[in-house]
């Protein structure tokens, strides 16, 4: 029983007691079994996502399609809301992301460079409460607020609420990148005669670009996948993003329209995967600052 493990273990002066070995082996087996079950748990829906859209009669089970078809995608194209909602999703997420990148870059830079008493505490508190803003608990006051501002049923309302909710985490991540930027870079540019704006544009932004990419992708994915905020703040189905529209895919009979849902889900997922691959290749993900040298 101990034979298989001995190969993996470094040579020891004395062999461990058999009981210890047995326990280690059982522990390993248990661990792999747990990982396998957990992996399966995530893999099955993925499998469904890949297989169901091409199935002529998709159900809720992940199964090899009995007859492969592209009709489900035709159904998506013919649905009056489907394509429009993808466009809405794109619009909302891109604008929100740009807003977050611009605001987070400026405030992270300022917070990294200016010493304010209680700065770090403030950041942590903001981070903590930002989870509330886009969360369910604050939806009633947020709805009231947006209503009073006259921004119900307008994209700008959704953009502002989501940007506000995501900004603190964005600032938090980006500040670390800014902290990793040596002051001498900026100072040498200042001595060279650059203005603050030129320093920001020519030196700071390019150096923290991986950080901007990280929060950009992260924000885009967050907004792209957000359901609750647009669901509550937008009344007109013509304005709804994909996440909300998908919720309304029913057949005339009142049951969920699974063929349409399956194809639409795949279309809805692909941009995010593509974006991740692109950014990872271009910049590489890292969630910390610092200069590679």
């Amino acid at each position: 029983m101990s034979a298989p493990t001995r190969r993996h273990e470094p040579v020891r002066p004395a062999a461990p007691p058999a009981r210890v070995v047995v326990r280690a082996v059982v522990g390993r087996i248990g661990f792999y079994a747990f990982v396998a079950v957990a992996g399966l748990f995530f893999a099955v829906p993925m499998l469904w996502l890949v297989l169901a859209p091409f199935d002529a009669t998709p159900g809720l089970a992940a199964e090899i399609p009995s007859s492969v078809t592209l009709d489900n995608f035709r159904a998506v194209l013919e649905n009056p809301f489907a394509l429009r909602s993808l466009w809405n999703s794109l619009l909302l997420s891109v604008i929100t992301t740009l807003l977050i990148i611009a605001a987070a870059a400026l405030s992270a830079y300022a917070l990294s460079r200016v010493r304010i008493p209680g700065r770090d505490l403030m950041l942590y508190v903001l981070l903590l409460f930002s989870a509330v803003v886009t969360g369910t608990a604050a939806m009633v006051p947020i709805f009231r607020l947006v209503f009073e501002l006259g921004l119900i049923n307008r994209h700008v309302g959704v953009v502002l609420v989501l940007a506000g909710g995501l900004l603190p985490a964005g600032v938090f991540i980006l500040k670390d990148f800014m902290d990793g930027l040596p002051r001498s870079y900026e100072e040498s540019a200042l001595v060279a005669g650059a203005s603050s704006f030129q320093v920001l544009r020519d030196i700071v932004t390019p150096v923290v670009r991986p950080g901007l990419a990280v929060i950009g992708v992260w924000a885009l994915v967050q907004v792209w996948g957000d359901f609750l905020v647009p669901f509550i703040l937008l009344r007109d189905p013509n304005l709804s993003p994909a996440a909300v529209v998908m919720f309304n895919f029913y057949t005339e009979g009142g049951t969920a329209n699974i063929p349409l849902l399956a194809a639409f889900s795949l279309l809805y997922t692909l941009p995010v995967v593509a974006l991740y691959l692109f950014v990872n290749r271009r910049y590489g993900f890292r969630f910390y600052g610092g200069i590679k040298s």
């Binding site: 001498s184 870079y185 100072e187 001595v191 060279a192 203005s195 390019p206 040298s293």
Partner: protein, 369 residues
């Protein structure tokens, strides 16, 4: 090209640290001037004030004819080389060198021509299209210098530019910096904590401590006639012997329980029973047979090879005396130690100042003898 004049400069940081304290300094046109001192002495703050990266609490700074105290760094026509070189990692070498010119709106062809020339003169011609991360430490350092050179400023400011290089490269870079500065004739302010660098490079140097200048002068002078105990102990690769001593009634010195004559230059200047510190460089000492009149006698304890010569430590009673000699004794051997009288310095133990024939006027740190 311009001189730098500093009058009454004071810099107090929020929190109360006084980095520079009412400091006056004139740096002449074309001069290589070093600011030397231990960390925290204010030398970097002084340099950064000249660059405009620190705003003085009080005082004036002028470069050439212009009062620059309140004008931003970019308008002072200075170029600064930072300790970490501050090369922009996302730009190629050529763009790094040309960045100050780009900011000043030189045309692209002009920028590239001047960056190319500066790079060529620093043997960086092959590396123009590399990123800084792909350069060695010495190359990075030269790129930083090239950036300053291409800019053609009136004043160079160097903030410990050699401290990140290993010892051999540092020596090379030192020689090349001195030569470069000589060729360009641009006034240079050079901050370092390495006394050998300051001695090797400077036309004149200032030794700083606690925000004030302790001594200012040519390197030879600062080395051979330090005006106080701090400078005496700070300058010299092999530290100066500084020994507590007392004058005796018969015109001699009691040193480590032994009697030696008062060195010639000090004859007749010292009243009996005065506490003085006897200062002599190991290089100015020699070994004699034990019990030679006028020499201290002790036991040789260690002999360290310096290269061509040895540094011998001699135990005289309870003090250690160091002497550089080419003929080292075997450890444990009794020897005599004598210093050339002309080079011996006596310091007042109380105020730590060099004892001179005419006492220096109070606050006169600029006296250059």
């Amino acid at each position: 090209m311009a001189e730098v004049r500093i009058e009454g400069l004071t810099k107090r940081f929020p929190g109360g640290v006084q980095a520079v304290d009412d400091l006056d300094l004139d740096i002449e046109d074309g001069e290589f001037f070093s600011l030397l001192g231990p960390s925290g002495c204010g030398k970097t703050t002084l340099l950064r004030s000249i660059a405009g990266l620190e705003t003085p609490t009080a005082g004036r700074i002028s470069i050439g004819e212009q009062d620059v105290t309140r004008i931003p760094p970019g308008e002072r026509d200075v170029a600064m080389v930072f300790q970490d070189y501050a090369l922009y990692p996302h730009m190629e070498v050529v763009d790094n060198i040309a960045y100050p010119l780009k900011v000043r709106k030189h045309s692209k062809s002009d920028r590239h021509r001047r960056a190319g020339e500066a790079a060529e003169s620093l043997s960086l011609g092959e590396l123009l299209n590399r990123r800084p991360a792909a350069l060695s430490g010495g190359q990075q350092q030269r790129v930083a210098v090239a950036r300053a050179v291409a800019h053609e400023p009136s004043v160079f400011l160097f903030d410990e530019p050699l401290s990140n290089l290993d010892a051999r490269l540092r020596l090379e870079a030192r020689t090349f910096l001195k030569r470069l500065q000589g060729d360009l004739g641009v006034s240079t302010v050079y901050v370092t904590h390495d006394q050998s660098e300051a001695l090797a490079l400077s036309d004149r140097m200032a030794v700083m401590k606690d925000g004030r200048i302790r001594q200012i002068g040519a390197p030879e002078e600062v080395f051979s006639r330090p005006t106080d105990l701090f400078v005496a102990s700070f300058i010299g690769s092999v530290p100066m012997n500084l020994l507590a001593s007392t004058t005796t009634a018969d015109g001699g010195l009691e040193l480590a329980g032994q009697r030696v004559p008062v060195p010639g230059p000090y004859e007749g200047m010292l009243e009996p029973n005065r506490s003085v510190t006897f200062g002599a460089r190991p290089e100015h000492g020699s070994l004699t047979p034990p019990d030679t009149p006028g020499a201290m006698t002790g036991l040789a304890v260690v002999a360290e090879l310096l290269g061509t010569e040895h540094l011998v430590t001699v135990e005289c009673g309870d003090v250690m005396v160091r002497v550089v000699t080419s003929d080292p004794p075997t450890p444990g051997e009794p020897v005599g130690v004598r210093f050339e009288e002309a080079w011996v310095l006596l310091f007042d133990t109380e105020d730590e100042q060099l004892i001179r024939r005419e006492p220096a006027a109070a606050g006169d740190v600029r006296s250059t003898g």
